[in-house]
Amino acid sequence: MHHPEHDTTIPPRDPAQVMRLARMGSFHQSRLSFMRVLLRRLKSEHWTFEQHLFNIDARGVGRAVYCAHGPDRSYSLIAFANDLPPEKRSDRVIATEWDATFTLFDGIPSEVDLDRLQDNVPKQEAGRVSEKELSLSRANRSVRLWEHVVTALSEGRQPDTAKVRDVGYLMRTTAVYGSGKFGAADREMIAERPEFRAPFQVEMLSVFLTRGFVMDLVEHLARQRAPDTAVPLDPDLRRCFGIGNSTGLGMAPFLMTHPVLINNWIAAKETVLARVRSLPTATQDDAALFRQFSVRAMINADTWTSSHAIQIEKLADLRRDMTLLQTHLKSADLTTDMPWNRLWLWAEANLTLEGQEQTAALLLEPYGDLVDDLSQRMDADEQESWRIDGAMPVAVLKQHIEAIYDWALDIDWTKDTANARVWYVSQEKLEPRIGERFEEPIEAYEQPLCPGRDAARLYTDLCACSDDLVADVLLRAPQHRHILRRVQIAARYPYAEIRDNTIDAKMLPIDLLRAKLSFFGACHFDPRSDRWVRINMFKHAPFPHELVNTSAEGWAYPPLPEGTR
């Protein structure tokens, strides 16, 4: 252990600095990301995996079951594969058919379970699952890569490395529903199980098994096409395939509707960053490890592509930052005199937000013993934090608003640009959307996803009223109940609130998406618009059957080139 007492002479960063949308939209995956938490557990607990059923024809239609066996329980990914005509392929929530659909089953399914699920899982939102199912998801093939890989393998050769690198996955998931959606088990049914205590472990396990299934499927179809000549993928190239994901606005409100959970994620990361920055010295080995990871992060930045103007600019920033970091590391002393704090201060002074947040993630890499315990404290009891303290004096409430929402009190809310957007839910697909307040007839349907404006309204009311206690305010003015609860939560949980205007004309929903997806462990964020992003998950990770012989750590950045390892 480095410092069991976790000396933190350096305090965690100020929420006013961290919880800005531009910075949240620059977050990177880290040791605390939920994919990495999952693989560490699967490895340390010696989980085993088996292909329990694989009944898929030459067109790619059929079903498969993959089981994961842990110390106390087994889980099964059930996959229904489809042969989808191209015109029906869409990642958007309006789609009604997919190349493959999935559910994570609690246990090992019987034939009766499989038949029941066959009637429902392929329908996704229009179907219904039960408390035996923990997730519901779907995926489409990457048209760009799928046929190329099947053809190459069936002809006995490996696919083109550049093409593989360019796309990065063979199938792209869209929504991965968990927590009671469409009849599935509620989180509280399984939250006490150690393997699911950390957030989104059901969803991550489902996606991890899905990636393995997709690779088996593509090799299977190549064999079906040309049994005499087909070859499997080279294992090193195989690991270059992640599983894609395409995520839209449906995910964005989550960051605002789960303030305590978000606090716990960010607080964990900020706490470990403070721990590392507080180290008085570092060993030569730790310094070497950091240098190695920073080279790998540079390779990651170089292989990350996007055609979206905003991300192209951010990628240029990141690449420049990673080059600056390499130059700095040539002469930097990384072992004495609080080396990581000095490095951090250098990064803050010299790098853009992309580079700063990448550096923050890199600083955690050498220090599993300072970091990994906190991954078990990223869940939240959202029930207890929910209750309003009605006995709080109005004067105290005002002080909290002044401290947490100072940025909102400084906004001129009479300006149209400050109120330009409305978050609403569409009637047709029941999906969250964002629209233009002054151009569309949607204001009557506004969701409470604008804490800055609402806190400013509450503050104005408090300044004018003669109420003594919060309970009196709420009885008189129930419209403040939602934001007042948030203020009290944010006063107790420093990273609970986003310190930016979520209805501003220039607000970018992709910043919210990236913040959340970075905690999942995603890489290669590739926005397709300001409200829709593609990512890659589990790229370079070992496959389930490889976990027994490989490390569960260190995979999250591209490997160093041959000869430099």
Binding site: R92, R144, F182, I388, S426, Q427, Q479, R481
Partner: protein
């Protein structure tokens, strides 16, 4: 078919907002009905009845005057969602041994989860009673003694809240799935509908942010 508690909470929160309540009240109503369903009690039916009854009623007519120890509504019938929230907000202030009586209240079953939350928040045992029902909450355990008529009651003239000295009734066991009748689901879904914005071609295209081909 059973429902996940999450589905029940989402549906009832939206329905409450759709019926004209503020978001903060609706959020707690969703949690209240979820709590009742997890206790095996007919909370969704009660909410469907309440929203139908109170549709279009003004807040000030059904909110309590909390000045004394007898709370009643200016308009004659207290709303249990508003009254329940007010009880929670005053949980710490209600002195030990205090007794509060409520005047006529609609669908009193909906008060029960708020009493549980008030007890947890204040750290003291509280009971709620009306003819045919006694519920006690202490140390995060609930006991209930109720007739099915009392559970389904559409209104009740007097409800008493007090410090509970003894726990009476059967201990409530927690369930992880809920039951909603189709009739109730339809009522709630219709109220929830009011929170959804009708689609336009523009909103379909820009609202969710598509427009680019994703078939690649």
């Amino acid at each position: 078919m059973t429902w996940s508690l999450g589905e029940i909470e989402v549906l009832t929160r939206k329905a409450t907002k759709g019926a004209g309540y503020e978001w903060g009240i609706a959020e707690e109503a969703g949690k209240a009905v979820r709590w009742l369903c997890a206790a095996g009690l007919p909370g969704a039916d009660a909410l469907a009845g309440l929203l139908t009854l109170n549709d279009g009623r003004a807040y000030k007519d059904c909110c309590p005057d909390c000045a004394g120890t007898h709370w009643q509504a200016r308009g004659g019938v207290l709303c249990p969602l508003i009254t329940g929230s007010a009880i929670c907000d005053r949980a710490g202030m209600l002195a030990l041994g205090d007794r509060i009586t409520l005047g006529k209240v609609a669908f009193p079953l909906l008060l029960v989860p708020y009493i549980a939350s008030a007890s947890d928040g204040a750290g003291r045992a509280i009971s709620i009673e009306w003819p045919g029902l006694t519920m006690c909450r202490a140390d995060r355990c609930t006991t209930i003694d109720a007739t099915s008529k009392a559970l389904a009651m559409g209104s009740c003239d007097t409800v008493t809240l007090r410090h509970a000295k003894t726990m009476t009734g059967t201990r409530v066991r927690r369930a992880y799935r809920g039951h909603i009748s189709e009739q109730t689901r339809l009522v709630l879904a219709e109220f929830a509908q009011r929170t959804y914005a009708p689609d336009t071609p523009e909103s379909r295209l820009s609202g969710a942010g598509a427009g680019l081909s994703d078939n690649d």
